[in-house]
C-alpha cells in the first residue's frame, strides 16, 4: 500500500473543542535518548487522541497499553483507560474470541472517559482488526502488522477477502508495517529462536506509537529493564524491539509527522496513575490506619476482584492479614470471625461470590458487626461475562438476603474514587456496626486514571469506640453488659471484643431481645428488632453528604447516575452544554440509604434520565421510593456507555420538555 497522508484525528464525541492539528508546522526537537537517531522531525499538536492496541491475548496488548498509559501520565496528560480482554487466558490464536485490546484516551485537558471511538487502532493480526475496526472513528488511523495478514490468518478471522485491498477500509488511513519481520531483524543480536524473538513485537508496536505521539522513552526502557531483570535476554530483545519501532517511525517516512499531545493543566500536586482495584486496596489500608483497627481480608480468587487480594497481600507491613479461603463462603465467614475479634474485616468478590456470601452477610446484619463486602461487578447472570463490566448487582446488594436484612450500599464512580469509597464504607461499617456493600465494576477495577494524592493527615478518622465497661445495671444491682443496648443517635450497638474482661457475651443468628441480647422468640420483640435494624440503616442518611447537583443553567432535565457511568455522564453533560443545551447532572455514591435531599432534588426537574449498565435497577429503586416517572437508559454489552448514547437519550428528553 502506498504512502498516504496521515490525516488529522477526529475528536471523540465527548469534546467539541476544535482539533488543533497543525500538520506540517515544525516544532522543537524532542528529547530523545542519545542512543536513538535524532534527525530533525516535525510534530503536530493534538489536544487529545484515543489509541486502541489490539492483538491476540498472548500478544502482550495489556502490557503495551499499560506502558503507553504510564508514559503519557508521566508526560503530564490527563487520561482514562479501558482494558478489554477475553476470559480465556489463551484463546485460540488468531481468532476473534482471542482478541485482547487496551484503549487509552490521552488529552491536554480534563477528560473523564476512555473515549467513545478510537482514533488510532493498532492491530497485530486480522482478527484484532476485524474485532475492532467497527469502533474506529471515521477518518481514523489503522496501523497494522502486515506480516500477520496471510491467507490462513485472514481465514481464521473470518475475512472472505483481504480488507487491505477490498476497499472496506477506505474511510481510514491505513499504515502497513511489517512488525514481525522488523522485530525479528532487530532482535537478531540476542540470538533467540524466531518463536521467542517474535514475542517482542508488541514492544516494536509500542516504540512506533511512542514515536508517533512523542512519548518519553526512558520510563519504558527503565521499566523493561526492571520487569524482565531475571531474564537479561528478554530485556535486550524488548529494548531492541522498542527502539526499532521508534526508529522505524523516525526514519521510514511512512508518516507525515509525529504528533504531540501537550501536558494537561492539572491541579498542582503529586500524581500517580491508579486502577480502581489498587485504589480500593489502598483505601482499605488507609481506613485501617485511620481507625487503628487491624485489616483482615477473607477472600477467594475471582475475576475481576482478585487483584484486591493480590494488592493487599503485598502490604503486610501494615499488619494486613490476607486469608485466601477455601471458598467464597469461608472468605466471608473468616472476615466475620475477625470482625468479632476486633479487626476491620473485609471480604472481596464479584457477583457469583456475592451469591455465596449472602448467608454470612445476613448473619452480619443480625450480629450487627462491621463487615465490608466489596463486589467488583461483572456481566451476569451466573458466570456470565467474567472479564466484562456491568452494574447489575445493585438490587442484589439491596435485597439479596432472606428476611428483612437492610445494608448500606456505596458505589465508587471512578478508578481513583475507589480509594475514598473504601474509606467511607469502612466508616459506615464501623460506626453503625453493620455489613456494608461497596460496589465497583470491571471497568473501574481495571481502568486507570491519574490521581492527585491526598494528604494522609486530611483523611477521615474512624472511631471504633470499642466497649470497655458494662453498660447496664441488673435488677440485683450488679453491673452487666448488654450487647444490644443501642446508641441513641446512631442506633448502633456496642462492639465488645473478646479479651475484654467483664463484657463476655454471646451473639448469634437467632433473634435477640432488644437491649439484653438474649435469645428471644417474643413476637413483639421481633417486630421491634426488625424495625430497629431498618431504622439504624435508614438513619445513616443523616450522616452522609447531601446530593450535589451540577446545574449551571437551571435545566429541566436531570441526568442521575451511580457508579462507573460517572465519567460518561459528565462528558455527555459537557458536550450538551457546549451545544447550548441546558442539562443538570448528579451522581449517587450512597445507594442505601439515599442522601436525605434526593427526593427534593428529583422534584425540581421535569424529566429525570437514569443511565445504567443493567436493565434499570437504580431507576426501579428511585421510582419506588419517590414515585417519580424516571426514564431509564440501559445497556448490557459488557462495555461502558458511549458518551453519544447518553447524549442522544438526553436530547430526546430535552425535545419532549420543549413541547
Amino acid at each position: 500500500m502506498g504512502r498516504r497522508d496521515f490525516r488529522p484525528f477526529l475528536a471523540p464525541a465527548e469534546d467539541f473543542r476544535s482539533v488543533n492539528s497543525n500538520v506540517g508546522d515544525p516544532s522543537e526537537e524532542q528529547n530523545v535518548s542519545s542512543t536513538l537517531e535524532r534527525p530533525p522531525r516535525r510534530t503536530a499538536r493534538l489536544d487529545q487522541v484515543v489509541v486502541r492496541f489490539a492483538g491476540d491475548s498472548g500478544d502482550g496488548m495489556q502490557v503495551t497499553g499499560d506502558r503507553f498509559t504510564t508514559g503519557s501520565a508521566l508526560f503530564g496528560n490527563d487520561l482514562a483507560t479501558l482494558p478489554n480482554f477475553p476470559a480465556e487466558i489463551r484463546a485460540p490464536a488468531g481468532t476473534l474470541a482471542g482478541v485482547s485490546a487496551f484503549q487509552v484516551h490521552i488529552a491536554d485537558h480534563d477528560i473523564t472517559t476512555p473515549g467513545d471511538n478510537p482514533t488510532v487502532l493498532v492491530a497485530m493480526n486480522p482478527a484484532a482488526l476485524r474485532a475492532n475496526v467497527g469502533d474506529l472513528a471515521s477518518g481514523g488511523t489503522v496501523i497494522l502488522n502486515s506480516d500477520a495478514f496471510d491467507e490462513r490468518a485472514l481465514d481464521k478471522a473470518g475475512y472472505a477477502s483481504d480488507p487491505r485491498s477490498d476497499g472496506s477500509m477506505a474511510a481510514f488511513a491505513v499504515y502497513e508495517v511489517k512488525m514481525t519481520s522488523l522485530t525479528l531483524e532487530a532482535v537478531k543480536p540476542v540470538g533467540a529462536k524466531p518463536r521467542d524473538a517474535e514475542r517482542s513485537k508488541n514492544f516494536f508496536a509500542l516504540g512506533l506509537i511512542s514515536w508517533l505521539f512523542s512519548r518519553p522513552i526512558e520510563p519504558t526502557l527503565a521499566w523493561i529493564a526492571e520487569r524482565y531483570a531475571a531474564r537479561p535476554g528478554v530485556v535486550e530483545a524488548n529494548t531492541l524491539a522498542f527502539k526499532a519501532g521508534w526508529n522505524f517511525g523516525e526514519t521510514a517516512e511512512l508518516f507525515e509527522s509525529a504528533y504531540e499531545v501537550p501536558a494537561s493543566k492539572l491541579d498542582p500536586g503529586t500524581y500517580t496513575n491508579v486502577t480502581g482495584n489498587t485504589a480500593l486496596a489502598w483505601g482499605l489500608i488507609a481506613a485501617s490506619v485511620r481507625s487503628g483497627l487491624p485489616l483482615f481480608l477473607g477472600s477467594y480468587p475471582i475475576t475481576p476482584a482478585s487483584d484486591l487480594l493480590h494488592e493487599l497481600a503485598k502490604h503486610k507491613q501494615f499488619g494486613v492479614r490476607t486469608f485466601q479461603a477455601e471458598d467464597e463462603i469461608a472468605g466471608a465467614g473468616a472476615a466475620l470471625g475477625a470482625a468479632f475479634g476486633g479487626s476491620l474485616a473485609v471480604t472481596t468478590t464479584s457477583g457469583p461470590g456475592v451469591d455465596l456470601k449472602s448467608e454470612t452477610i445476613g448473619l452480619a446484619v443480625s450480629l450487627e458487626l462491621p463487615l465490608i463486602v466489596v463486589d467488583v461487578q461483572r456481566g451476569g447472570p451466573s458466570t456470565g461475562l467474567p472479564t466484562k463490566t456491568e452494574q447489575a448487582d445493585l438490587l442484589h446488594a439491596m435485597y439479596g438476603r432472606h428476611g428483612e436484612a437492610p445494608v448500606p450500599i456505596i458505589a465508587a464512580k471512578t478508578p481513583a474514587h475507589c480509594f475514598e469509597a473504601a474509606i467511607e464504607a469502612a466508616r459506615l461499617a464501623v460506626t453503625y456496626r453493620t455489613p456494608v456493600f461497596l460496589l465497583t465494576d470491571g471497568y473501574l477495577a481495571n481502568g486507570s486514571e491519574p490521581w492527585r494524592l491526598p494528604d494522609v493527615e486530611s483523611l477521615p478518622v474512624i472511631q471504633p469506640d470499642l466497649a470497655v465497661a458494662p453498660n447496664h445495671v441488673g435488677p440485683d444491682g450488679e453491673e452487666e453488659f448488654w450487647p444490644y443496648l443501642r446508641d441513641e443517635t446512631t442506633l448502633a450497638r456496642p462492639w465488645a471484643v473478646p479479651g475484654t474482661a467483664g463484657l463476655e457475651h454471646r451473639i448469634g443468628g437467632l433473634e435477640k431481645s432488644d437491649g439484653a441480647g438474649d435469645v428471644s422468640y417474643d413476637p413483639a420483640n421481633h417486630e421491634r428488632m426488625v424495625r430497629l435494624r431498618a431504622a439504624k440503616i435508614a438513619g445513616i442518611a443523616e450522616a452522609i453528604p447531601s446530593l450535589e447537583v451540577d446545574d449551571p443553567d437551571g435545566a429541566g432535565l436531570l441526568m442521575l447516575g451511580w457508579g462507573s457511568t460517572y465519567g460518561t455522564i459528565v462528558a455527555a453533560a459537557r458536550s450538551l452544554r457546549a451545544q447550548g443545551l441546558r442539562v443538570a447532572r448528579a451522581h449517587l455514591m450512597h445507594l442505601n440509604p439515599f442522601p436525605a435531599n434526593l427526593g427534593e432534588v428529583l422534584g425540581r426537574y421535569a424529566k429525570v434520565l437514569i443511565p445504567e449498565v443493567n436493565l434499570g435497577q437504580l431507576s426501579r429503586l428511585v421510582r419506588a421510593e419517590y414515585l417519580i416517572d424516571a426514564v431509564s437508559l440501559t445497556k448490557v454489552q459488557g462495555t461502558p456507555f458511549k458518551v453519544s448514547e447518553i447524549e442522544e437519550a438526553a436530547m430526546l428528553l430535552l425535545k419532549e420538555i420543549e413541547q
Partner: protein, 352 residues
Amino acid sequence: MTNVMSAPTTSRKDWATDQEVRWCPGCGDYSILAAMQFLLPELGVQRENTVFVSGIGCAARFPYYMNTYGMHSIHGRAPAIATGLAISRPDLDVWVVSGDGDALSIGGNHLLHALRRNVNITILMFNNQIYGLTKGQFSPTSEVGKITKSSPFGSLDRPFNPLSVAIGAEATFVARTHDMDRKHMMETFRRAHDHQGAAFVEIFQNCNVFNDGAFEHLTGRDQRAEMLIPLRHGEPIRFGADNQRGVVMGRDGTLELVDVASVGESALLIHDETRPDPGLAFLLSRLSGGVDRPTPIGVFRDVEVPDYGTLMASQLEEVRRRKGEGDLAALLRSGITWEVDGRSPTAAPGEG
C-alpha cells in the same frame, strides 16, 4: 493452646450462664456441657479469653450456656468463622462446637480446610448419627439402611467415619471420647486444648429422642470393656475386661484384633500418637464400624506442626522487620509519581 497450670481461680458456676438449658431431658449434650464447665477452671484459663463458636444444630446451642465470649453462627460455617477469629487473635482460646450434620455435611469443606491449615482451634464434634434439630433425618454418619423420616425405606448413603476424614486431612490432633464418661471427656478435652494447632475430637453422643442407644453397644456400662479399645501413648494397644485382647499389624497391611495369649504381648502394636505420618492413625480409625466391632477411644494422633495463625503472625513480623512499619504516605507514592506545579504544564517524571 497454652495450658497455664495454676490453682483454679474460677469454679464451675463462673462458666455457666443464666440462660435456661433447652436440650431435651436426657440428652447427651448435658454431660458434655458439664464436663466442659468442670474442666475450664482446672485449665486456669480466663473467661474473657475464651470463645465458643458454633454452627447450627442441637450442639450449636452450646455457646449460649458458656459464660464466655461466644457466637452461634450459621450451618456448617463455624470452622471458617473460627479460623478468622483465631488467626486474627492468636491470644484467644477458640473452641468450635459442632455436630455430625454441621461438621461433615453442610460444613464438610470448612472442616477439611481448617484441619489442613492447622488453625489453632479446638473442634468438638458431637456425633449422634442423626439430624436432631430438624427432627430426625439420617446424617452423614448414619449407618446404611437407616430408617428415618427422610429415608422410610432405608438410607442409601454410605457414612463417613469422622476420624478417618480428620486423619485423611492430616489433622494434627485427633481424638475420640463419649458422653457416658465425664472423666475421659475431661481428659480428652484437656489434651485437645493443650494442643497447639487444629484439634478434632469426636464425641459419641446419645440423642435419646431420635436415635436413642446408637452407641449403647459400645459405651454401655456392660459393653465398654470389651468394645472400647483405649489408646495410650507408648503402650501396647490392648482391651477387654482382662486386657486379654490386642491389636496387631496384619500381613496384608491392615490392623487385626487378636487374643494376646495367642500372639504374645510383644507382637502387639505400640500406640504412638506422635508419628508424623498419619497412616497408622488412619488404620486405627478403620477399626470402627458395625455393632459388633470394638472401636478405639482416646488420642489417635498428636503431632507438632506450626499452626496457621502463628505462621501468619511471624510472616507479618518478618515483613515489618524487612520493610519497616507501614507508612501510608509512602504507600500512595509507591508507584510512578509525578509533580504538577500549577505554573507550567510540563511534568517531570520521578519515582516515589
